[in-house]
């Protein structure tokens, strides 16, 4: 299964991901109306993408009284018609990855397997990757880092 993975150290803060998301979903350019958010503070010197991890046991789904959420092929999807707009999902999401703005609730649906945030990121700070392969890569990196530190 493919999911979104984030590399904050590569994020430059430009927000093309959020703007592409809002343009794709709402026909407007608005980084605050997107399923992905870049938290950035140039004075405290960081850029950090926040997005939905498509949890296997998602809080948004579990606490939705209207059963507006369902998991389809590993993606947590919100049914607009069932949703009453109470914003409980956004309030409870442990990662603050559900956006609410202008009576809209915006939840990442991975753009039917072609996530726009990934496509418009110019540094590879957000990547759409197979979970098994990505984990293998991350483990290998970690092991190598560990061995490097151990040498010192």
């Amino acid at each position: 299964m493919k999911y979104l993975y984030v590399y904050p150290e590569k994020c430059t803060g430009c927000r093309e991901c959020s703007i592409a998301c809002s343009l794709n979903k709402f026909g407007e350019c608005n980084p605050k109306k997107a399923a992905i958010t870049i938290v950035r503070d140039e004075f405290n010197r960081y850029e950090f993408p926040i997005l939905c991890f498509q949890c296997e046991d998602p809080v948004c789904l579990k606490f939705c009284h209207q059963n507006a959420y369902q998991i389809k092929d590993g993606i947590v999807i919100r049914d607009k018609d069932k949703c009453i707009g109470c914003r409980l999902c956004a309030t409870l999401c442990p990662y603050n990855a559900v956006t609410t703005i202008d009576d809209e609730i915006i939840k990442c649906d991975l753009c039917d397997g072609d996530p726009k945030c990934v496509k418009y990121c110019s540094t590879g700070a957000i990547q759409y990757l197979d979970e098994t392969e990505e984990l293998e890569k991350r483990r290998k990196n970690m092991a190598e880092n560990f061995l490097e530190i151990n040498k010192k």
């Binding site: 150290e9 430059t12 803060g13 430009c14 927000r15 093309e16 703007i19 592409a20 809002s22 343009l23 794709n24 709402f26 026909g27 407007e28 350019c29 608005n30 980084p31 605050k32 109306k33 140039e42 004075f43 010197r45 850029e47 703005i101 202008d102 726009k116 496509k119 418009y120 110019s122 540094t123």
Partner: protein, 609 residues
Amino acid sequence: MFKGKLGIIDLSKNKVTIKKTPESLKKLFFGGRGLNSYYLYKMIKPGIDPFSPENVLIFGTGFLTGTLVPNSSRFNVSAKSPETGILGDSNCGGYFAAEMRYAGFDRLIIYGKAKKPCYLYVTDNKIEIKDAGDYWGMDTTDVQQILRKDLGHVEVACCGMAGENLVRFACVRTGVKNAAGRCGLGAVMGSKHLKAIAVKGTQGIQIKHPEEMLETVEQLKEYIMNSKITSILGSVGTPLLYEVSNTLGAIRTKNSQLNAWSESLNAEEIEKHVEKMISCSSCIVHCRHRNMLGGEGPEYTAVGLLGANLGIEDPAEVIELNNVCNELGLDISSSGTILAWAFELYEKGIIDKKFTEEELGFGNFELAKKLLYKISRREGFGDILAESTKNIVRFGEKSKDYLIAVKGLPQSDPHDCRYIKAFALGIATSSRGADHLRSRPTLEIFLRLPQEVKDRIYGKGVPNDPTSYTAKEKTVYFSDNIFAVIDNLGICKFICHGFNSPHFVDYTWMKKLIHCASGWTVKEKDLEDVGKRVIDIERMFNNREGISRKDDTLPKRYFDDPMPLNLSKGHHIDRKEFDKLLTRYYKIRGWTNDGQVKKERVIELEALV
């Protein structure tokens, strides 16, 4: 796309009016710099004091600012310049402009003078004039951070202490280092008792053809990312240009007494002090350095003008001076030029301790740092230096011979323009004085550029020899026009056709991007006409202030002192050849031989608007 509003703020009357910009005006100028210049021409009476309440200060976003279009972060700040007394205008990146559009505003026009220090708080479709008593007296980072503490995550454009104290080269700053640096517009803020503009918006920019924009930007992004220059700029940023100019022997060194300096300031050395490269809003190039000394930068301008021009070799010291200028709200280009000028004048005995209070000299980091601080506070000799090029009157006519400035504006490009003749013509004719970002035809440096590529861009007959005067009016004419259009659109020059690359965003790309955003169908020729219109209206403003052929000239040193070092050794600007070049430039612009916009054109443009 066209919901963006025009905020008009009369600080004397404490009054805010919100209007719409007529669509017909947008078709003539699109936005950004062009529309700002139009309003300056229309609203400012000739001869006014730039520090008087009559001066008009404009913050104008570009037509495509804040959209998915790559590098669309830009806005222009414009007013009559207190440094030059002519058109003042400065382009700036960061996050402020995009946020201003998300708050629903394309442009803010500010005039009058507030009784007490104030700031503007701009939120969704609303502008409030608020008391800035608590913020007055703060340096640029402090005021931005405290505004965020008080108002939430706002984006701020502010002036520093230099602006409050009416230093004639005070900048407008946003973020850690983005600045509308040139022409002393921070001092215009100070003169109006306007400390800052804080913006916070939640509205989007409605796009006429969203899918078309997604597709077009995907193609454009690929095109730009595949260029070698993009990855170099994204890894080392503009300091890359230092080595290029230095090898040529065209780095302004010690007030242009020399033309080459230490390799210790090459990009690879600067890079050692960089923690991470970051972006402005929507930018895919990410050329901004987050340095390890607590700030951002340095750009090539800082490396050259706070390094070589001051005789400083240590990159850490240059970066610290860069950070100091940003904190105090001083324009780096003017700061580095004015300090170097004073140092040489002191060495030559043209000024003495009566003015300077202490010994001056090149290569003294502590002295430079102290003087920058004193300029911002207008203390002692700093109070004098704060007057910038106006000091010719104080220092005596002889001092003028050593000043690297045009029309009262210290030269921004650290590039010594004696070698590349097109650069020389560019700074001599730029609408704001000695500035490279109006027309720098950087391609002149690329000696191996095939002739057919040059012909295609500039038209036939431009030789590949940068020292030749032949047809160089064509390179400046082309660049002037297209850079004006890119400024109108709010896109960074880094991805503009002909700036750093013979590729990138040309009129055809612009046409496509404009269509996606607005649905407007324009032709390449229409866009070029927009550029010409901007150049003409800016010239009309300057003509009205008395600018003519006599002012389109160069620092004396560029004419009379041959360059001493490296490849460019022996080169200088020939007065006669330069004069002929200028005549050809006027001709291609359609101006009179005295550098005036012709009466018919003035009538035509005034009628259009």
